[in-house]
Subunit: 345 residues, 2 copies
């Protein structure tokens, strides 16, 4: 039986995760879940974000389903670093996966794109680069202050995520784009490019391409249909995936997995959107991204049929929406769960 740790979190996180669980109940029948009350409430009550004992308990699960964290009462960065990034590093979630598909009915800001035109995934490195916290400040607050940030990259870390990306490209349309900034970041760029080229030699059927991050950012806007799989470092991936979300209708619809492909620790699945305190508690949050994140979870737990059913149901849900109609959180979950149940019965 699959054991899922559920972290609803703050604001609309609570509401959308309830719907994701409705869908999971039919897509992964009999799964066991444990709920963890992490986020702003715990922090404000105890000053702790992720107690060691909770981290150990989470580690006993097959996957983590997370809603959203963040509240104006908590200083910016505390929960993000203390929970989200902590999980990525502690659980060695080195593949940060963000699929981008333009669904029928999704409000893309682009002209001249049709549903189906945009369909790619970004494989973002999740445990290295500028996200390690290395760096510091000297003479803080004075006119002489200096601040450094250090990007740390290993052959070990780049190779494993690049291999993962090649495997994904093999299962998709067979095209992989490496994104970095080798013309300026020569040290890390050199490592990434050499590792990429070496691994590429083992995948003669995958066509490969290299793009500088600035060019890739532009191409995601003016020719997003040319991408299949993108592999890139932690910070570049952070930026590119938000552009990807923008062109496919906004972060409101995007889902992400922070994945440990070796299953040595649980992986985290979540909607990309935040806790949206302004609309929390009203039952009007769109649970589609949270529901989509269960598809990534099912994929990771080797349930491709269930994952496909969820994706198909989400696609129908979005296609069936009339523009301007108000979302009712609970109704969306009911509709998608019923659709999934129908497909899997």
């Amino acid at each position: 039986m699959s054991r899922i740790a559920v972290i609803p979190g703050d604001g609309i996180g609570q509401e959308v995760i309830a719907e994701a669980q409705k869908v999971l109940a039919v897509a992964l029948p009999g799964y066991e879940s444990t709920e963890y009350d992490l986020g702003a409430r715990l922090y404000n009550r105890t000053g702790e974000v992720l107690p060691e004992s909770v981290l150990s308990e989470l580690d006993e699960h097959d996957a983590i389903l997370l809603g959203a964290i963040g509240d104006p009462s908590v200083p910016p960065g505390v929960l993000e670093r203390g929970l989200l990034l902590k999980l990525r590093f502690e659980f060695d979630q080195y593949v940060n996966l963000r699929p981008s598909r333009l669904y029928p009915g999704a409000p893309t800001p682009l002209a001249d794109v049709k549903p189906g035109d945009i369909d790619f995934v970004v494989v973002r490195e999740g445990t290295e680069g500028l996200y390690t916290g290395a760096g510091g400040n000297l003479h803080t607050g004075s006119a002489a202050e200096i601040a450094t940030e250090e990007s740390l990259n290993t052959r070990y870390g780049t190779e494993r995520v690049i291999r993962d990306a090649f495997e994904r490209a093999k299962r998709r349309r067979g095209h992989l784009t490496l994104v970095h900034k080798t013309n300026v970041l020569v040290h890390a760029g050199g490592l990434w490019k050499r590792t990429f080229d070496e691994v590429a030699a083992e995948y003669p059927d995958i066509t490969t391409e290299y793009q500088h991050v600035d060019a890739a950012a532009m191409f995601l806007v003016n020719r997003p249909h040319t991408f299949d799989v993108i592999v890139t470092d932690n910070l570049f991936g952070d930026i590119l995936t938000d552009i990807a979300a923008a062109v496919t209708g906004g972060i409101g619809l995007a889902a992400t997995g922070s994945i440990n492909p070796d299953h040595t620790h649980p992986s985290t699945f979540e909607p990309v959107h935040g806790s949206a305190p302004d609309i929390a508690g009203q039952g009007i949050a769109d649970p589609v991204a949270a529901i989509s994140s269960t598809a990534l979870l099912l994929e990771h737990l080797s349930r491709p049929d269930a994952a496909a059913a969820v994706n198909a149901a989400v696609e129908r849900e979005l296609a069936g929406r009339e523009s301007g109609t108000k979302i009712r959180t609970g109704e969306v979950g009911d509709r998608v769960a019923a659709d999934v149940a129908g497909q899997l019965s």
Copy 2:
């Protein structure tokens, strides 16, 4: 008399700079120019990119007008670092300025935007951050390889570019957005944010805003009209300005200035596009971006009327183009120069 160093460079750089000079001849009558043959040819002949003696000569000028550099015969990065970045650092060009306007007739990939909707400038720091080259590799080529890149930031460097951005916001619509990634890059982000907030206190009439770089990248795509002036670090600016170019019709139309606002060394003005070897020598390159870069040059040399005339002429040139009509490089320059001449006579 203004002394302009002209570096046509490679490929279409030669062709578009000739047109920019036609326009400059009428917008800055009697300017003196010295041409420098830098780029792929010099490098392939001598192995040198920017000899010290040439650097000293360039330093004697009021501004540098650059076409484009780069050729398949030169290893990637050599000319970019050896010439473009070298000039930015040696000449202390700490304001990298990239105006983004959607002109009538420009081919934006966005739906639902009208000319005039998008009009902002990015003030990108040009002499610090991840562009200093700090970092290295260890155990290169082995399974144990590590690579680092260090972002170096000073109070001195952040404050001066932030002040410049506030001044520009004052001359525009009075809104300034700081972009960084303070929730992850806490060291550099802290310095940028504190410096920004301190300087902001001196500009009570400027409304300010902070955005994480991933959010800003998204907003540039789905609500670009909300920006007036953006100030950000070197690498974030590199990425954001390419998104900005994408939404305003592509890098083919964008111009940039690498500016030393204190005039202690010359500033460089150039089109954002590359040398496009595939279309070089055919007289079909669009010189509009090179011409727009002369407007930035004129602005920097305190010729606001001439700069406005060039911008107005470029706007008319683009508006007058029928979609699908082939560009003739020389004709565009002639038309714009004549228009500028008419305005200034």
